[in-house]
Subunit: 351 residues, 2 copies
DNA sequence: TTGTAAGCGTTATCAG
DNA sequence: CTGATAACGCTTACAA
């Protein structure tokens, strides 16, 4: 007794048989290779034949086995995205900025017809970048803080043939995509000067492995010098959570004797920490002290006052990462690497 | 002239040849199947042989082709995670709660030896759940807001053989995992009563497709009745962003004449909106009005005052999702579906 | 303990 | 335009 939809009981006895392109071929009355071609949209197949094949495929609820297809093609149609966390850090505490980037990267990959394989890696035991060799993906996007230097050492030493692109690279030798940090920092600094602040101090670092921080400091310094002012850097302490760095830097600045009436923090998380500390110390933001951050994290909208910040275009960021990778894979020339930014004026700078 | 590492020029002329298990076999002086078994950790292979194979594999920098392996095995070792967004919503504006969940789900899958294929879906054109039929994944985890009813309709109608589990299901008929909403809401309400608030109003809904909201309201109502108090619900308007719902509900409550000295919001985003509105209206939080939310989103730590909230254990959440799915795939009995929660006391309730 | 050989379900080449 | 047929690189009976 054959198994039929009306008689599912019979199915149990029979070995489960996956619907293959052979089955479709039989139903459509064509050869198996014609099925493959028809479904793949090959131009050489006549329209009536294609319709018959499609009908048969639908009737049987056929779907191609991607593993077989990929084995044969030698390409996976998949991009790997590696999220680098701080060692031992809870996934929940990952900077939300990176999550936004993950989202837009997935969207961009999907728009280009690629699947996305995601993994979170934080320590030498979990570092793994052999997606290509294992034919799990055609290329790799690495997103993460430069702080995890062990991670970058690992990825930097992968086979030269590895196709990969990154956000957050500590070295310009990698294939990177980044915010337009210089323009953003300049924008932030000018904004404060225009709003009447005259003693703008930068909270950040020019030596952090976080390459972006140096660029942001440079943009700030350039804008200050343009205005005939002396740039001042209040350094953050290494190895602490960002908000704590901001808090401590604000406290240090307050007691340093250094006159200031505004700060440009090289990241939102640092800015939020500083904001908290200024509030605790009784400074009125934005009247007494203006604060501008960088990144556009969501939490900035909820602080008191809400944080004025520089926000990269996340959608473009994901697109640039994916396009840079695909171009590298194809051996094509350079694609844009700088993500445009915009000033988001909220409440931490005075009108 | 053969291609050698010392003589890479020769490689270019030769057709690129992937290193296969045959090559390893040749170098190790064994058969190809022995290579496969040795590398897979098969117990029947003698230790000396295994060592020889491993050495050869390392020498050749061999990595198994996962596509071939999967084609043969018939299993993918991959789980698909579908993130459902609101239609047309920017990836950046996705509730950060879901991102945390994504992170912990990836971590849990990895701990169980699975890869994770992630996709973001928001509208009928993008809905797609045939990972199993296409042999792209062995099962699927769907994470998202119940609000996108079209999405749930779609996933609800997939083939019965589909292995999938979800967070945010509008129906109990699905395989769901959820926060322990009842316990959490009770915890929140009792906390406010203990802190001396007596007129606690719930901002939320008992009819939202967001199943969780009903459960949270029920927990609140039970705690109130336990204390001999009448539960009061201030309904949110449908179809708005959560924070806007919170803002409007707070405004409506303030002008309704309904006496209140605390609110329990069924989500943090709603609570944050309400907090803003209370501030705008000149209410002092937490002295005049206490506020407690639900979800433990990061932004709550940055509001003024910081938001007291109920936080699910994200790590457990990811683990339960993955374990529920794996159990369903194996046809195993029930696994826990409720994620434990804890009270996080911050500044929006008085000491 | 190891070797031989049969697939897994496609895509791609080559005829016709 | 369509049909045979040969890979793709592995895992896994079955033999030895």
């Amino acid at each position: 007794m054959p198994a039929t939809p009306e008689n599912p009981g019979a199915t149990a006895a029979r070995r489960i048989h996956r619907v293959t392109s052979f089955d479709v071929a039989e139903v459509a009355g064509v050869s198996q290779s014609t099925v493959s071609r028809a479904l793949a949209g090959d131009a050489s197949i006549s329209e009536p034949t294609r319709q018959r094949v499609i009908a048969a495929a639908e009737k049987l609820n056929y779907q191609v086995d991607e593993n077989a297809a990929r084995l044969r093609r030698g390409k996976t149609g998949t991009l790997a995205v590696v999220m680098i966390c701080r060692d031992g850090q809870d996934r929940k505490d990952l900077n939300p900025f990176y999550y936004s980037l993950l989202g837009s990267t997935c969207a961009a990959a999907s728009a280009r017809g690629y699947e996305v394989l995601v993994s979170f890696q934080d320590s030498p035991e979990s570092f793994w970048g052999h997606y290509q060799e294992r034919r799990k993906a055609d290329g790799m996007i690495v997103i993460g803080t430069s702080e995890n230097t062990a991670a970058w050492d690992y990825f930097g030493e992968l086979e030269a043939a590895t196709n990969w692109v990154c956000w957050g690279a500590p070295s310009d030798a990698f294939q990177w995509v980044r915010s337009d940090n210089l323009a953003g920092a300049t924008l932030a600094t000018r904004h404060m000067l225009v709003r009447g602040y005259t003693r703008v101090v930068c909270i950040g670092s020019e030596t952090s492995p976080q390459r972006q921080f140096k660029e942001r400091y440079d943009g700030y310094a350039a804008a200050m010098q343009d205005a005939g002012l002396e740039p001042v850097l209040q350094r953050i302490e290494r190895g602490l959570p960002r908000e704590e760095q901001g808090r401590r830097a604000a406290a240090a600045l307050a007691t340093s004797g250094q006159p200031f009436d505004a700060i440009f923090a090289v990241s939102d998380e640092i800015a939020l920490g500083a904001l908290k500390e200024f509030e605790r110390l009784g400074y009125r933001v934005p009247d007494q002290v203006g604060v501008v951050g960088f990144d556009g994290v969501r939490a900035g909208a909820w602080s008191t006052p809400p944080l004025t910040t520089i926000e990269p275009d996340f959608e473009i960021a994901g697109t640039l990462l994916v396009d840079r990778l695909l171009a590298a894979m194809a051996g094509e020339p350079e694609t844009p690497r700088r993500v445009p930014v915009r000033l988001v004026v909220r409440g931490s700078t005075r009108p």
